[in-house]
């Protein structure tokens, strides 16, 4: 993962693979583009933050796996666990 080597604004588009979908189209890849409104809801910026968070968390716990650990992982301060 090289997400930390780029800035959020330099990302123009992001592809996300959806492995399990209600409509049966498993493995479909969907394209998301950057929202030019800085105050608007932006999938690309949100994924960028989630990926950079994942990178930081992996520095804390090397067991985090790109294929097995959900992107929504977070650090629980009181117990110091992920």
């Amino acid at each position: 993962m090289q997400i930390t080597s780029v800035t959020a604004v330099s990302l123009t588009k992001v592809w996300v693979k959806f492995w399990t979908q209600k409509n049966g189209q498993h493995g479909e890849e969907k394209l998301f583009v950057l929202n030019p409104d800085p105050n608007g809801i932006c999938m690309v910026a949100s994924l960028y933050r989630a990926l950079t968070r994942f990178v930081k968390l992996r520095l804390m716990d090397g067991r985090l796996h790109e294929e097995r650990t959900p992107l929504s992982a977070y650090h629980h301060g009181p117990t110091n666990t992920i």
Binding site: V16, K30, R49, D61, H65, P70, H75
Partner: protein, 177 residues
Amino acid sequence: MKWTGNWLLTDDEPDLAVRGQLQLAMYAVHLATGNSIYCKRIKATTVDNYVLAASTFLAFFTGRDFCKDLPTDSSMGHLLRPALKDLHTYESVPNRREPHDLNMHSLGRTLALLSDSKALLPALIDGFKQGLCAGYRLLEWAQPIGKFSIDRPQLNHVVSSPLRTLAIVPCDIRCVA
């Protein structure tokens, strides 16, 4: 596009009918999230009536009813109908929870900025944001494969778990700079 955009639809939009119907759908959601007179939640049927009244009023200026796909249709348009149907569905749920609306999301985003970027709240807000854009379901958030009870979700947060998660994982994302 915002629901408060030019209601007279005099812009150079390629498809004014679609835009008009989308604006009415956004107006319905706006009303349903407590943005009514006295800031009170109103019934879905009342929202229907408000939307119909707005559409009828606009028709005096625009010459067409934006509630419908075609002027000869008897039912609501394909964009507006699902939004109004969802409001009725939501209202029919007993012991329902408050829906996650844009105002709540905005507040959550402000609070998330004040906390550690690795903490729960920023992770939640990013998840909600992605859910708004991509329509995530519960199992795409942090669930393992298999059946689970919604009351007792088996969160797949065990970092060394051999379970194949159904959640979005980092390798599902491909960025283009």
